[in-house]
């Protein structure tokens, strides 16, 4: 199918882009990586009258760290995150999650800001944002605002971003240095949208008891969620296999997914639990090996 006609603009500064959005209103769309937008336009499911291509705004592509937080420019490509030594050093969870996004070809075009604002309920980056309590900065004609992930995601494919706003930066806190982490996802084929996914972060004390647990689940709700019941259950416990299995079971009772062509609700519930246990196993193993390394 072919898209409906549209006007095309390629601003070179954020201010220009915002001005264009203000002028064209709700019928304008931002073109970043285009990996989600363009297929929808080609199917005529989305019919913007104008596209504001922000790929020429060079200032929006960067990755740097400040005060233990990664600041990532909105048009940074997933592939750039994947190959960044900074990311490899300070955020293994982000690295593991990004590598699961589609295929390499898609990652060379898809952008961090684009993915998060698109808010696909099965996406990896929103789950990572949730696991690490990340934030997003939005810029509009009335200035900037920084929103935490909890306030950002409203429902399927919907965030609080106004039609006149652009996301210009994503902020992801560093993983604690003694944390173990893992991103576990289930897909039917390599590179598919996740049927369900779990981002897990675990911190333990010297007695091997859990002091902090984060479990962000994707694919089981309209937005990424934190499995708070399971997280509370884990804190203070010794992380035996039984405990991890129970955490998985708690997650599977907590989530309320939908059925669709790819999976039934019951199967998704079950998967969320099984993936939680697997993610926790790997996170705990990483936690141990980090401790071992620190002792050396």
């Amino acid at each position: 199918m072919k898209p409906v006609s549209f006007d095309y603009f390629a601003p070179t500064t954020v201010n220009e882009a915002v001005a264009l959005l203000e002028e064209h209103g709700e019928d304008a769309k931002i073109l970043a990586g285009g990996q989600s937008l363009v297929p929808m336009m080609n199917f005529r499911l989305v019919r913007p009258t104008c596209l504001v291509d922000i790929n020429q705004i060079k200032d929006l592509a960067y990755i740097h760290e400040k005060d233990d937080r990664l600041h990532i420019g909105a048009i940074t490509r997933h592939r750039d995150l994947e190959t960044s030594t900074l990311v490899q050093q300070c955020n293994g969870l982000l690295l593991e999650g990004v590598q699961l996004i589609g295929h390499t070809a898609i990652r060379t075009r898809g952008t961090v800001g684009g993915s998060i604002i698109h808010a696909d309920p099965t996406a990896e980056l929103p789950a990572i944002l949730a696991a690490l309590d990340g934030e997003v900065r939005l810029i509009g004609p009335n200035g900037q605002r920084t929103i935490s992930w909890r306030d950002l995601f409203v429902t399927f494919f919907t965030t609080v971003i106004e039609p006149v706003e652009i996301c210009d930066e994503v902020i992801i806190p560093r993983l604690p240095s003694d944390a173990g982490w893992a991103f576990e996802e289930f897909t039917r084929r390599h590179g598919d949208f996740a049927v369900a996914g779990v981002a897990a972060v675990i911190v333990t004390d010297n007695n091997d008891r859990c002091t902090d647990a984060r479990l962000a689940i994707t694919g089981t709700a309209p937005t990424p969620i934190r499995a708070t019941q399971a997280e509370l259950f884990l804190v203070g416990k010794s992380l035996t296999q039984t405990t991890l299995d129970e955490a998985g079971r708690l997650v599977s009772t907590e989530v309320e997914p939908e059925s669709d062509v790819h999976a039934t609700a019951d199967y998704r519930k079950h998967l969320a639990g099984a993936l939680t246990t697997r993610a926790l196993q790997r996170a705990v193993a990483r936690c141990h090996s980090r401790k071992d390394q620190q002792e050396k």
Partner: protein, 818 residues
């Protein structure tokens, strides 16, 4: 001169080129984007068509208003169902209860995606904008999608003339089925469900249509693959003389696997559309259209009963099946049901069988040929039951196959249904498969895995691989009395033609009209001709383009049912042999020696006794062109040989419904080991061995590619792909996100081995292998998964075995309801 059956090249095992994997001639252009596909053709002033499709599965069309659409600047023409009804005839079909099928919905829509109107505009974008401006009013009707429910009295009726939605019903009986069941020690029964999936060729349907308003000639460039029986069918539908309808197929087609046989309704639609305007009209089908409304295989529900002795000998079987052909029964359907009729017993010596075939219409996309074309459905049923026999009798499933195989000394073997198996050695091939798979070791591995509680299964599937369809087989869908009527014209046959010429400067060109879709015809033809003429394949140029106005063709022409390797290579080999004879006679004449004494070496001819007096090939060829007066008495000018090879045993069905539905029959045996992840239900293929007998192997790498592709296709149907409809007839899988075609990352390693039982009916002894394991892989996967789950008492009767389905099977075993 037409040869009925080829003399084999006697005792030739010392081939120089045949049997070698030379680099493919097609690859350079295909891999660098320089192929010539329909979309590459440069037809001046071409405009573009877009098709409006029904969003409803079943509805009456109460109003269509194109006025807003036609007012859009750049739109130059349109058609609706009213035009189609007025100007075309319904397509011919073979059925006991035919219905009217047109290229567009006329009064009712009967499947989501059915064409309702079409627009021609300056470009495709504009044409689609115009579609948005077409106003259609529908009165929705209840839809039915399940083939068993569709025949119940309360079901919605799709066609008034088909009151119970059964478009074709035949009960075919062979041998004495009742006696077989009386004598049996055990009778096993299963209800099996085979899914709807397609082939997903990379290139979708592509058509450029041009109508000459003065001469009345219609030219259609497309990626149609044959059989060319669709040419007269299209001409009749369009009410034009056959010699005014020109089909042209470019040298490259991006895959087809049977799907592009069913392009003819769109050829008709585009033809009609181009008659409304005075410019050529182009339509490149997009992927959504392809997944919704091109062609897929039937989904089938079958009830099979097998009568077996306590020693595991199958005495007979009965099958009652419901084949869901979608909203219209359209040619060449109901071939999914009847194409395998000759080989319906597979490789086994079953003598007694009955098939109660119900071909049912429902509100889904109409069906057509899809690689395996009925054999995947058949072998799924057959091989699941063979494993059930093993289970019941506590025999090794491999042993059950061995006990029932047709033996090598029985060939050519006539099956109870009229199939004539030309050659084969099933026990030998099967033993090779067991060895390649390391069967004993794998069973030991299974035992160990099972003690660890792992879900480890081994599956076996064997099948006879039919190739070169006999055009008569479909008529078994008609009652015998109908076929005996004096006005009835029987159908039969399978033929192919090749032309080889040597030009004035001594270069060799082969002309083919085989409509290949990536099978490598240019390469193997070069090998065959080089072999016979003692040249190198690089010396042979092959042009393979189809033009009904210029090519030599008949209704069986085309590349489908894996026919080229048998009938195509025979035509080529025979033509090469004739041409060889001709050039040797000219050389003998010019050298003034006897033809038996002529030697050809390094492109030069000389008499055995006088080696220093030699003449070049170009001199011989030159004589035929430049100096024909010096040719032997009676010989024609030039060096052109055209030969048609036709199978002698491709008769029409007899009065007892027996028909040799194919002309050559190969064999394959697949073995697979799988493990199921108990948490996710995902099936992992740990090992896969596949042995094939496709007769004489011409190009091992091409054959391997076909086997790999066929196997992957079968695995795709067993584990991933399905065209899914909801109960209201909405298709839920019209994008590649939802129609889950596996990627290279999902492909397992396959250990492939061969034996060669040359066919006595083809010149080189080769048989088709284009479908190969697409026929047996689904059964093999099903048997492997069933074996993995058997300790839990779970049965497998339905595909695909997605992770979700496997997990549900596991849950049912654990006594947990979902």
């Amino acid at each position: 001169m037409s040869k009925k059956s080829g003399e084999q090249i006697p005792g030739r095992t010392d081939y120089k080129w045949i049997g070698k994997s030379i680099p493919r001639h097609e690859d350079a252009r295909l891999l660098t984007g320089r192929g010539t596909f329909v979309d590459d053709l440069n037809i001046p002033n071409v405009h573009h068509a877009a098709i409006l499709r029904s969003p409803h599965a079943h509805a009456r069309i109460s109003k269509i208003d194109l006025s807003r659409a036609l007012n859009l600047k750049g739109v130059i023409g349109s058609i609706t169902g009213a035009d189609v009804l007025e100007r075309t005839r319904p397509f011919s079909v073979v059925a006991t209860s035919p219905m009217q099928y047109y290229c567009m919905a006329t009064d009712k829509v009967r499947f989501v995606g059915e064409p309702v109107a079409a627009i021609v505009a300056r470009d495709r974008y504009l044409a689609e904008d115009a579609l948005d401006l077409i106003d259609v009013e529908y009165e929705t009707l209840p839809a039915i999608v399940d083939p068993e429910k569709a025949v119940e009295s309360a079901a919605p009726i799709l066609h008034e003339e088909v009151p119970n939605n059964i478009a074709c019903h035949r009960v075919l009986s062979y041998g004495d089925v009742d006696a077989a069941f009386d004598q049996a020690d055990f009778v096993l029964r299963e209800r099996l469900v085979f899914p709807r999936y397609t082939s997903m060729p990379l290139e979708t349907f592509a058509i450029i249509s041009s109508y000459d308003h003065f001469g009345g000639g219609l030219t259609l460039w497309s990626n149609f693959m044959g059989p060319f029986i669709m040419h007269p069918i299209t001409a009749r539908a369009l009410n034009i003389a056959e010699n005014k309808l020109r089909f042209i197929v470019p040298p490259d087609i991006g895959g087809s696997f049977g799907i592009k046989t069913s392009i003819y309704p769109y050829l008709t639609l585009l033809g009609l559309l181009s008659m409304q305007v005075d410019v050529p009209v182009k339509w490149i089908e997009d992927r959504r259209e392809h997944l919704l409304a091109s062609s897929v295989q039937t989904d089938r529900v079958s009830y099979r009963e097998v009568a077996v002795t306590k020693n595991g000998m199958v005495l007979g079987f009965r099958t009652k099946l419901y084949d869901n052909v979608g909203a219209y029964l359209r040619t060449p359907e109901p071939a999914t049901t009847f194409r395998p009729i000759g080989n319906v017993v597979g490789p086994y010596r079953v003598k007694n069988l009955q098939i109660d075939a119900n071909v049912v219409v429902t509100n889904k996309c109409p069906t057509g040929p899809n690689r395996a074309y009925g054999c995947a459905h058949l072998y799924f049923e057959q091989e699941r039951l063979m494993d059930k026999v093993a289970e019941k009798l506590k025999l090794d499933p491999a042993e059950v196959r061995l006990r029932n195989f047709i033996q090598p000394d029985e060939f050519p073997y006539t099956t109870p249904t009229g199939g004539i198996y030309d050659s084969g050695d099933y026990p030998k091939a099967f033993q090779l498969a067991l060895k390649t798979f390391d069967y004993e070791a794998m069973r030991k591995q299974q035992k160990t895995a099972r003690t660890d509680g792992r879900l480890f299964g081994i599956g076996i599937a064997t099948g006879v691989d039919p190739s070169v369809s006999n055009m008569g087989y479909l008529t078994v869908a008609l009652d015998a009395e109908v076929r005996q009527h004096p006005d009835y014209l029987p159908k039969s046959g399978a033929a192919e033609t090749a032309t080889i010429k040597i030009d004035p400067l001594g270069q060799v060109t082969v002309g083919l009209s085989s409509t290949p879709q990536g099978q490598g015809h240019e390469t193997i033809v070069a090998q065959i001709v080089a072999e016979e003429l003692e040249l190198s394949p690089d010396d042979v140029t092959v042009i393979d383009e189809f033009d009904t106005a210029k090519s030599i063709w008949s209704i069986s022409s085309g590349t489908y049912s894996s026919r080229f390797a048998s009938v195509g290579t025979s035509a080529v080999a025979n033509a090469a042999k004739t041409l060889r004879g001709k050039i040797f006679r000219i050389a003998a004449h010019l050298l003034k020696v006897n033809v038996e004494d002529v030697v050809f070496e390094d492109r030069r001819f000389y008499g055995r006794e006088t080696p220093t007096q030699s003449i070049k090939l170009s001199h011989v060829a030159g004589t035929a062109h430049w100096n024909p007066n010096d040719l032997p008495e009676g010989m024609e000018v030039g060096l052109n040989v055209t030969e048609t090879f036709s199978f002698p045993l491709a008769h029409a069905p007899d009065q007892k419904d027996r028909v040799n539905s194919s002309n050559t029959y190969g064999f394959m045996a697949d073995l697979m080991a799988v493990e199921i992840d108990p948490d996710t239900g995902k099936v992992k293929i740990l090992k896969y061995a596949s042995v094939h007998d496709a007769g004489t192997i011409i190009h091992p790498k091409i054959l391997e590619g076909q086997i790999y592709g066929g196997a992957m296709h079968g695995i795709a149907g067993a584990l991933f792909e399905q065209q899914i409809y909801d109960d209201e007839g909405q298709c839920l899988t019209a994008t590649l996100v939802d129609y889950e075609c596996p990627f290279a990352t999902e492909a397992p390693k396959i250990d492939i081995a061969h034996i060669e039982s040359p066919s006595p009916f083809t010149t080189l002894g080769s048989k088709g292998a284009g479908e190969s394991s697409s026929e047996t892989a689904p059964a093999c996967v099903a048997n492997a998964v069933a074996d993995a789950l058997s300790p839990l008492g779970v049965n497998v009767t339905e595909l695909p075995l997605t992770p979700n389905r496997c997990w549900e099977l596991l849950q049912s075993a654990r006594g947990q309801t979902t």
